[in-house]
Structure formats: structure tokens, C-alpha cells
């Protein structure tokens, strides 16, 4: 009995030891600590602030020198903070009504796509026509293409400010909901809801949207921008209207007011009189091509038509000034001339070899003269734009 017992014990011990040895040799999971060793390195990868992108800046200001004598600069009265104001179309209600508003529409065409922005704000300045009238406002940031309300600022019960003076008062309203240029380039608008206690108009001095263009994950600024309205949609108790600035967008042919037209006709001639011209200027202090950018191509396009019936051919001549210096000229011919009062001609001149630096792109001025074939005719200019392709490291 004792012998059998010892034998059984010996067998059990042998089996268990054998299993343990086998497990050890096989390296079964869980039986070994697994050692690892590591080594590391770190670097930073940064992309260009702006990839190669093509943007256009339309010239908003102009001067009529068609007679040979330069007139005053003509600017949208609601563009700049300069004390030059424009009235609303009609009188406003003394109480707020969501159906009544002044909507400023922007295009943001001179902004690069998908760039982070910061410190976006609306600078809104206005006055009342008669002292002691009390005009108040609040606003909404919108996408006007589909009437999407992006963000309300103020309310009828909590206005952003009131004005009782005939001298414009400036309000700066932060728009923190705007974080990317894509929003500004996508039918961005500001809808101002305004009242006047005397059921009178208000006088708008400016409604600019400005901010900073950012890089390095939106932490650093490489440029600033300012947008001006290209049209205003007025919804007032007496009716609706859409005042536009002549050079704000391509919207001709049409009545005077949506194109820039000189007072004097250009002559029938075989040669140009370069002292007779229409001058087109960029907005002041423009930096739509940021300092340090590399320009790879550029062009200037003039969209225009003539004011006589068919039969006449009006051919323009461009005088391109960079930083105030006449740098290049170009003369239209053939299809780049206009022989229609009902269809516009767009004449594009390649300036790649001429405009090569950001400073030049941001300080371009164009004077346009013209000659006619059969009769003196005026030059109507609907749109002037400088298109630049650039990148920024």
C-alpha cells in the first residue's frame, strides 16, 4: 500500500514538473515578462501659410478725367470711414421689425480660401439726419445666399447702440463666430436692424468687415483684411431696393449707376489722347497680396461697353501705374474692342511680367483711354479687377 502510494506521488510530481519545464521552454504567454526598448526623435512639419491660390481684387474707386481734367475720386459712400455718408433708401420704422433691415453683402473675393481668421469685426458708423432723433440698431451675421443666420448680435431689447447726432458715431462689433475665410467668401452679409424714433432715415458712413489672416494652426497672423459691401439690400417700410456701387460687381449693361461712365465722349481717332481717361483705383491701404508672397502670374481685366448703337467700334487703351509710376501700356484690338451697347466686353491683359511683387500688386492703378471708329462715344466700365496667383511660405 505504501509503495503504491509513493509511486502515485512520484508520477504526479513527474508530470507536473514536466509540464512546468515544457511551459517554460515554450515561452507560453503570461509566463514571461516581455522586454522592450525604445528610442525616439521629434520634428515639426509646417505647411505654407498660403498654398498657390488665385485671387482677384476689384477696383472700387474711380476718377473721371474723360474731359482731360481729373475730377474728384468717386467712392462708395458707405465704403470708408470718412464722414461721407449715404442715406437709407426710405425712412425707418420707430420700432424694430425683423422684416425691416439694411443688409450689407460682401464677396470676400480677395481672401484666400480656408484660412483661419481672428479678430473679425464689423465697423459700423452712422448718423441721424436731424439732431436729437434717436436711431438704434442690432444685427445678424448671415449667409445671404440661403438666408442662414450665423449669429445674432444684440436684440430689440438689447441694442448695440443708439445715435442722436448728425455726426457719424462708430461702433465696433466683434464677430467671433467668423473663424475661417470660407465663411466670409460664402455669401457673407451683415443684416442691420435699425430704427429711428422720428420715423426718419439713417445716414451710413461705413460698414466694413475686417480681421486678421492666421497661420500656424491659427495662432499667428500674417496679414489683415478689410471687406467692403458690394451691394446693400434695403428692406424698409416703404419698400425694398438694392443699391449697388457701380464697380462692385459685373452687372451691366444697364442704366447709369451700375457702371462707371465718363462725362465726355471719347473721339473718333486713330490715336489715343492719354490725358483723357477714366482712372480706376484700388481701395486705400490694400494688402490683398501679403508681404513676402511669391507671385507666379497676374492679369488685369476690364469689363466695359460703348454707348453708341451698332456700327461704332470703341477700343480702349490701358495705362498701368505701379506705385504711381506709369509702368506699362496696352491697346485693345479686334474682339477686345466693343461694338455693342447691349453686351459687355472683357479685355484681359497679362501682367505677369509687370506685376511681380506684393507691393506692386497692392499699389496698382489703371487709367483707360479710348478711341472710336465712327462716332464719339462714352466708355462705360462695369468692372476692373486685378487677378494674382501667389503663394506664401
Amino acid at each position: 500500500m505504501a509503495l503504491r502510494y509513493r509511486f502515485r506521488v512520484a508520477v504526479v510530481v513527474a508530470v507536473v514538473v514536466a509540464v512546468a519545464w515544457a511551459a517554460t521552454m515554450a515561452g507560453l504567454p503570461g509566463t514571461h515578462a516581455v522586454w522592450t526598448g525604445s528610442t525616439a526623435a521629434t520634428d515639426t512639419v509646417s505647411t505654407k501659410k498660403v498654398f498657390s491660390t488665385t485671387l482677384s481684387d476689384n477696383f472700387m474707386d474711380w476718377i473721371d478725367a474723360s474731359s482731360g481734367t481729373a475730377g474728384a475720386v468717386q467712392q462708395s459712400r458707405s465704403a470708408y470711414l470718412d464722414g461721407v455718408t449715404t442715406n437709407t433708401n426710405n425712412v425707418l420704422s420707430p420700432t424694430f421689425n425683423t422684416a425691416y433691415y439694411e443688409e450689407m453683402d460682401y464677396t470676400g473675393q480677395d481672401l484666400p480660401p480656408s484660412v483661419a481668421v481672428s479678430n473679425v469685426q464689423l465697423t459700423f458708423a452712422y448718423a441721424v439726419p436731424v439732431a436729437a432723433e434717436n436711431a438704434c440698431f442690432y444685427l445678424s451675421a448671415i449667409r445671404f445666399s440661403d438666408n442662414t443666420d450665423l449669429q445674432d448680435h444684440g436684440s430689440p431689447a438689447s441694442t448695440l447702440g443708439c445715435v442722436t447726432t448728425t455726426t457719424p458715431v462708430t461702433f465696433t462689433i466683434p464677430l467671433p463666430e467668423i473663424t475661417n475665410t470660407d465663411t466670409l467668401k460664402d455669401s457673407f452679409g451683415i443684416r442691420v436692424y435699425a430704427t429711428n424714433s422720428a420715423s426718419d432715415k439713417i445716414q451710413i458712413d461705413t460698414a466694413q468687415v475686417s480681421g486678421s489672416l492666421m497661420y500656424n494652426n491659427g495662432t499667428q497672423s500674417y496679414n489683415t483684411f478689410t471687406m467692403y459691401e458690394f451691394q446693400r439690400q434695403s428692406h424698409e417700410p416703404a419698400g425694398n431696393a438694392t443699391p449697388t456701387w457701380a464697380l462692385g460687381r459685373i452687372d451691366g449693361p444697364g442704366a447709369v449707376g451700375i457702371t462707371a461712365v465718363g462725362a465726355s465722349a471719347f473721339p473718333i481717332s486713330a490715336s489715343y489722347t492719354n490725358t483723357d481717361y477714366l482712372e480706376f483705383d484700388q481701395t486705400p491701404s490694400l494688402t490683398f497680396v501679403p508681404p513676402g508672397a511669391t507671385i507666379t502670374s497676374s492679369s488685369i481685366a476690364l469689363t466695359f461697353y460703348e454707348t453708341l448703337a451698332a456700327g461704332n467700334v470703341l477700343c480702349p487703351d490701358m495705362m498701368l501705374y505701379l506705385s504711381g509710376t506709369l509702368t506699362a501700356t496696352a491697346t485693345a484690338s479686334g474682339a477686345n474692342c466693343s461694338s455693342s451697347t447691349t453686351a459687355e466686353t472683357t479685355w484681359t491683359v497679362d501682367t505677369t511680367a509687370i506685376i511681380t511683387t506684393p507691393a506692386q500688386a497692392d499699389n496698382t492703378m489703371l487709367r483707360v483711354s479710348a478711341i472710336n471708329s465712327t462716332s464719339a462715344a462714352q466708355l462705360r466700365v462695369d468692372y476692373v479687377k486685378l487677378t494674382v496667383t501667389y503663394s506664401l511660405s
Binding site: 514538473v17 512546468a20 512639419v45
Partner: protein, 213 residues
């Protein structure tokens, strides 16, 4: 009746005793296993021989030198650009042989460059059988291989966790792999411009399968 009870009691004690003995032996065996585990990898000395644990000490080439450009940053990257950085992966003499080497990457700060796995940075790693010939001016390095080029890691998004590296000689000690890490930006979306990511590459070697010594 009493005789039957006494016999049954002895039988129960015998069975109980066997059970206890078996458990004791199993416990001892388990202890033996654990002891074996630790004895294999802990420096120890006994009377007759010395058992020293191996070390896993993979390393990269000298930081900043031609054998380790991984710490050199790149800026002004545009779609279509590639960033190439040579780096030696070293398993020194006396090191352990390895079952595998993996790479783990992490970004801090992070941006769409590393979070956009489709349009953001893509990573490949290639190996040359001899040292790469480096040309170009820092940081725009280019590399050519005078020997045989093999793929160590096919194109993947830059952020990886324990991505297995293939065809490495440095899994065996006393070997060096001459690698080039390539980052490429394929996407052209504007959401990638003006972005910055700082990427840390961690190469990890895992010990070989246990073997008798």
C-alpha cells in the same frame, strides 16, 4: 458498523491526503515556473555560472548628423512636397536579438496635417543595404541608395501606433539599418495650409522569443 466507519474514515483521509499532496506539488511547480522566469532575466550569480540578463538598447544615429535627421523640421510645405530624413536604427553588439521593431508616432501640437488621414501627411520608410548618399541643403535633403532598397513601411498616415517595420537587420544585435523616413503631403485642400504638427517618432524593439540558454 464501527469497523465500517473506521475504514471509511481512513479512506477519506487517504483521498484528502492525496489531494493536498497534489496541490502542494502543483504549487511547487508553479513556483518553479515563476522562479525560472525571473531567474532567466535577472542578473544573478550562483556558484557555478553567471546568468546575466540581456538588454534591449536600440538607438538612432547621432542626432542632427547624417545618420539621424529626424529632428530637423520642415516648413513651407505645399501639396506634392516630400520631406526625407535619413536615420540609422542601431541594435548594438551585445544587445538582445529582437522579435520585432515597431514605430509609433504622435503629434503635439496636432493639426489637420496629422489628423486628416486622407489628405494629411503620409509616411513611408525605406531601407538601403548600405549607407544612403545624402544630397541637398538642410533641410531639403535627398537620398540615393548605392545598394539595395527595400520597403520597411509602406505608405500610411503619419500617425501610427506600433506599426510593424519589415525587412530590418537590426532585429539581430550588432546590426544597423540605414533608413529614410519620407513624409509626403498629397492633399491640396486649403484646410491644410498654415498648419503645423510636431511629430515624435518612437522606435520600439521587443525581445525575441525566449530560448534555452
Amino acid at each position: 458498523m464501527e469497523a465500517h466507519d473506521a475504514q471509511g474514515e481512513r479512506r477519506r483521509r487517504r483521498v484528502l491526503g492525496r489531494i493536498l499532496l497534489t496541490l502542494a506539488v502543483l504549487g511547487s511547480a508553479a513556483g518553479l515556473i515563476m522562479a525560472t522566469t525571473y531567474a532567466s532575466w535577472t542578473s544573478a550569480v550562483n556558484q557555478n555560472n553567471q546568468i546575466a540578463s540581456g538588454t534591449i538598447s536600440i538607438s538612432l544615429g547621432a542626432t542632427g548628423g547624417a545618420t539621424n535627421r529626424l529632428n530637423i523640421s520642415a516648413s513651407g510645405i505645399a501639396p506634392g512636397d516630400t520631406i526625407k530624413r535619413g536615420v540609422d536604427l542601431i541594435n548594438p553588439s551585445g544587445g538582445l536579438d529582437l522579435a520585432s521593431i515597431t514605430v509609433t508616432t504622435a503629434a503635439s501640437p496636432s493639426s489637420t496635417l496629422d489628423t486628416d488621414t486622407t489628405n494629411g501627411l503620409q509616411m513611408t520608410i525605406d531601407k538601403c543595404s548600405v549607407a544612403w548618399t545624402e544630397t541637398g541643403t538642410n533641410p531639403a535633403f535627398s537620398y540615393s541608395c548605392g545598394g539595395v532598397t527595400t520597403s520597411v513601411l509602406a505608405s500610411v498616415p503619419v500617425i501610427q501606433t506600433n506599426a510593424a517595420l519589415s525587412n530590418l537587420s537590426s532585429v539581430t544585435n550588432n546590426n544597423t539599418d540605414h533608413l529614410v523616413v519620407t513624409l509626403s503631403l498629397g492633399g491640396s485642400g486649403g484646410s491644410l495650409q498654415g498648419k503645423s504638427s510636431t511629430v515624435t517618432y518612437t522606435f520600439t524593439g521587443t525581445q525575441r522569443v525566449a530560448a534555452p540558454h
